[in-house]
């Protein structure tokens, strides 16, 4: 079989940190399986390729594209549309593409304020109020940079997505499992899951993977993690630490919780959960050991940042999508 007869594979990053790429590198020798079964046509991490090379391909000629990163500017959107057109299967890869991730918290503010803040920090020397412009005339000619959108959007808010692979970043063993599955499909030994499925993750919650003991299911206060002498055996939520495990999809082997840190929710909503924050609020409410409204109020005050607590990774992909200020002119 010549290289050109192999199905084509692509991977791309939009507004992301590069951690998804590192997670893929961390599958080590499994990379060779990708190489053996695919012709890699576009993968900035591993090879040379250019937009115009992708533009020149026939529509639908790439079998599988893993797309990580959210859609923050017009360049991100352009590439998302291009890769959608060229790909038979487009996977939203990692938390940013699936649900916006940490950069999605920018949707709590107007985009103008994001730029304004960055260009007016305590160390910034900007007495004349200079801000970056999408197009600017320098003495020698016009130069351009991408235009920031009012909000950060998830991949499926911009183009049609076939599969979702959550995690910040997706765990390497899960990436390896997905590659195994795809190779089997190529050899006629397995079927693809239904379109729209979440792949490379579990079907339950982080709590189901967590090995910590659960005893009482009630708490009288929320505590900050640095304020607790952490019991290495006991459920963190029972220790009063606002752990996002109950609403978060399984698949990571409860990695952070095993290390004594709370689940921060990077695997996104658990199976069947429509709105992550709503589910987590319900989960926290159910463990609060009080019926007195004032006392409940006081207990809830133990969560200093509800927006961040309940929508840390999921704001852009939630029913809310953004805070009200993001829609106002900034």
């Amino acid at each position: 079989m010549t290289d050109n007869a192999k199905p084509k594979f692509a991977m791309y990053w939009a507004a992301s940190c590069g951690g998804c790429e590192i997670a893929v590198l961390n599958i080590h020798e499994k990379i060779l399986d990708v190489d053996a079964n695919f012709e890699v046509v576009f993968w900035p991490v591993a090879m040379d390729a250019k937009y115009k090379d992708v533009e020149a391909m026939e529509d639908g000629s790439i079998l599988l594209t893993l797309f990580n990163g959210g859609i923050r500017n017009d360049e991100n959107e352009h590439i998302a549309r291009l890769l959608r057109r060229k790909s038979q299967l487009l996977v939203a890869f990692g938390s940013c593409a699936c649900e916006g991730c940490i950069p999605g918290l920018a949707n709590l503010s107007p985009a103008g304020e994001i730029v304004h803040t960055a260009f007016n920090t305590v160390s910034t020397d900007n007495p004349h109020g200079i801000y970056p412009r999408a197009s600017f005339d320098v003495p020698e000619g016009e130069i351009t940079i991408p235009k920031i959108f009012p909000t950060l959007r998830t991949l499926d808010q911009v183009v049609d997505v076939d599969y979702y692979m959550p995690g910040c970043p997706p765990e390497s063993h899960q990436i390896g499992a997905v590659i195994d599955l795809v190779v089997k499909v190529l050899h006629g030994e397995a079927q693809l899951p239904p379109k729209g499925s979440v792949i490379g993750a579990g079907n339950s919650t982080v709590c189901d993977e967590c090995t910590r003991k659960r005893n009482v299911k009630s708490i009288t206060s929320f505590k900050r993690i640095y304020d607790v002498e952490i019991d290495p055996e006991l459920c963190l939520l029972e220790q009063g630490i606002p752990c996002n495990g109950p609403a978060t999809r399984s698949g990571c082997n409860a990695r952070c919780v095993s290390a004594g840190a709370q689940c921060i929710g990077c695997y996104g909503p658990a199976e069947g959960v429509v709105d992550y924050g709503a589910r987590l609020i319900a989960a926290f409410a159910s463990v609060i050991d009080s019926t007195d409204p004032e006392e409940i109020e006081a207990i809830l005050d133990g969560i200093p940042d509800p927006a961040g607590q309940f929508y840390r990774f999921n704001l852009a992909g939630s029913l809310l999508k953004a805070g009200k200020p993001a829609w106002e002119k900034g």
Binding site: A15, C17, G18, G19, C20, E21, I22, A23, N26, H28, P44, V45, A46, M47, D48, A49, K50, Y51, R72, N73, E75, I102, P103, L105, E113, I114, V115, T117, A118, T121, V122, S123, T124, D125, Y131, P132, R133, V138, P139, E140, G141, I143, I145, P146, C168, R224, I225, Y226, D227, I230, P232, R255, A259, G260, A261, I264, C266, P304, D305, G308
Partner: protein, 489 residues
């Protein structure tokens, strides 16, 4: 006729940094612009979040060096709470960080920079990559690099809880310690890392220093800038990556300032331009004088070379030997030749490995005393570490609940934005002249100008084949392409 050359390194960049080279009527370089097109807004949207989450949130600035943000954030959060973590916690953080340095520097040297030297800057494109390196110096080297990556990540996961985006640092220390068994394994891996560091320096010595053409290239003018240099030092003015004061020396090597993290705003300011999303830090005492070097320009550099220039030595014996040899070979301090950064990086790798062993050997490293509960009211704090790509500053202000009200970040590569821009311009001016045909090796020589800085927006460590693909379009005055050159397509 005005010509424009657009170097658009589309791949292997996070975002899509762009170099515009404008030629004048004669066909010489009139000006160059290096643009950074991305802004995600961490300084705005971290406001309102609890400060103890910053080591987790700011990890997501960069998936290549999340360890650096995790540490700077943890130190800033300690400072906000006025809490001093126990010795074991500080050692564990620095141990994780040392292992990270070995991994990161190894990846950069072998995958990215090595090919230029091992294969030569004008070697055939198809050979100028890590595979070419392996073919030339032997297969076992590939195994060693993979081992270095694995060893580092093993330690990062043991202490940090995860391989990517560590999660265990909190104000006052860590959420967990390590067991004696883990300590033994970490120590063994560290001892191997020291050997790997020595091996890497020997390789550099044999292949690069043993070749006069390369030494001439390193010492040549194309890649030389006389700027200020920044680096963190310990109480003996030796390089330290995790803790200490930030020292700045001038182009003549004399100390300009040595400041504690909380005083950084007295010494550093950031210049802005309307054509890029990234800012240009400079030394306040000297002032912003534009994209120019010399004693009167506040432009400074923060790289492995800068750290060596800013220090008096290395705190570990093997690295110190190499440090002395470095300056003896290159004609004394400071060294201004940017390509020497690659050598400096390997000396730092060896130091990090030695430090890794030192910390893992400490009797208190596996102690249970890994956290001090903060008791004071949180206010304001600055945390600084040396990221592999430059001094990393996190500055937080909170309300009395520890909820952030102000965030300022000066990220590693940002320090070097002005010098990188200058290096690109100088290389372009030296190489692109009226009547010259722009060739692929010439483009690679321009590219080498910024590769030495290991720019994070280049996501240098992402790059397996070790090359930044460049496409150069030469346009006439009407914007029509008259020639298109591709580097290794």
């Amino acid at each position: 006729m005005t010509q424009r050359i657009t170097i658009d390194p589309i791949t292997r960049l996070e975002g899509h940094g762009k170099i515009e080279i404008f030629l004048d009527d004669k066909g010489d370089v009139a000006n160059t612009y290096f643009q950074i097109p991305e802004l995600r807004g961490f300084e705005r949207f971290c406001v309102g979040r609890p400060v103890e989450e910053m080591p987790l949130l700011t990890n997501r600035i960069c998936g290549v060096c999340p360890e650096a943000h995790h540490m700077a954030a943890a130190k800033a959060a300690d400072a906000v709470y006025h809490v001093d973590p126990p010795r074991t916690a500080k050692m564990l953080r620095e141990l994780l960080y040392s292992a990270f340095y070995v991994t990161d520097h190894a990846t950069h040297f072998y995958a990215l920079a090595g090919p230029d030297f091992v294969m030569g800057p004008d070697a055939p494109v198809a050979e100028r990559n890590i595979l070419g390196v392996i073919h030339k110096v032997g297969l076992e080297i590939g195994g060693k690099v993979i081992n270095a990556r694995k060893a580092g990540h093993t330690v990062i996961e043991m202490i940090g809880g995860r391989k990517v985006h560590p999660c265990t640092s909190i104000p006052g220390g860590l959420t967990k310690g390590i067991t004696n068994e883990q300590r033994d394994e970490i120590l063994k891996l560290g001892q191997w890392a020291v050997e790997f560091g020595q091996f890497s320096l020997k390789l550099f010595n044999d292949i690069v220093l043993g070749n006069k053409a390369y030494v001439d290239l390193i010492l040549g003018d194309i890649y030389t800038h006389r700027t200020y240099y920044m680096g963190m030092v310990d109480e003996n003015n030796n390089t330290n990556f995790y803790d200490g004061k930030v020292r700045v020396v001038g182009p003549d090597g004399a100390e300009l300032v040595k400041y504690a993290p909380q005083d950084y705003t007295q010494h550093i300011a950031e210049h802005v331009e309307p054509w890029t999303y990234l800012k240009f830090p400079y030394l306040k005492a000297v002032g912003w004088k534009g994209f120019t070097d010399g004693k009167d320009s506040g432009v400074y550099c923060a790289t492995p070379l800068s750290r060596l220039n800013a220090a008096d030595g290395m705190a570990t014996p093997l690295a110190q030997e190499e440090y002395e040899k470095f300056y003896k070979t290159l004609g004394g301090k400071p060294v201004h030749q940017r390509l020497a950064t690659h050598w400096a990086r390997l000396i730092e790798l060896l130091y990090a490995a030695e430090r890794w062993v030192e910390l893992a050997s400490d009797p208190e490293i596996a102690s249970d005393n890994f956290h001090t509960k903060p008791t004071e009211i949180p206010t304001e704090g600055v945390g600084i570490v040396e990221a592999p790509r430059g001094t990393l500053t996190h500055h937080y202000t909170t309300d009395e609940r520890g909820v952030l009200t102000k965030v300022n970040l000066i990220v590693g590569t940002t320090n070097n934005y002005a010098p990188i821009s200058m290096s690109i311009e100088k290389a372009a001016r030296s190489l692109i002249k009226k009547g010259t045909v722009v060739t692929e090796p010439m483009l690679n020589m321009v590219e080498m100008a910024f590769r030495s800085y290991d720019p994070c927006f280049g996501c240098a460590t992402h790059s397996l084949p070790g090359q930044m693909p460049l496409q150069v379009t030469i346009r006439n005055a009407d914007g029509e392409p008259i020639e298109v050159l591709k580097q290794f397509c």
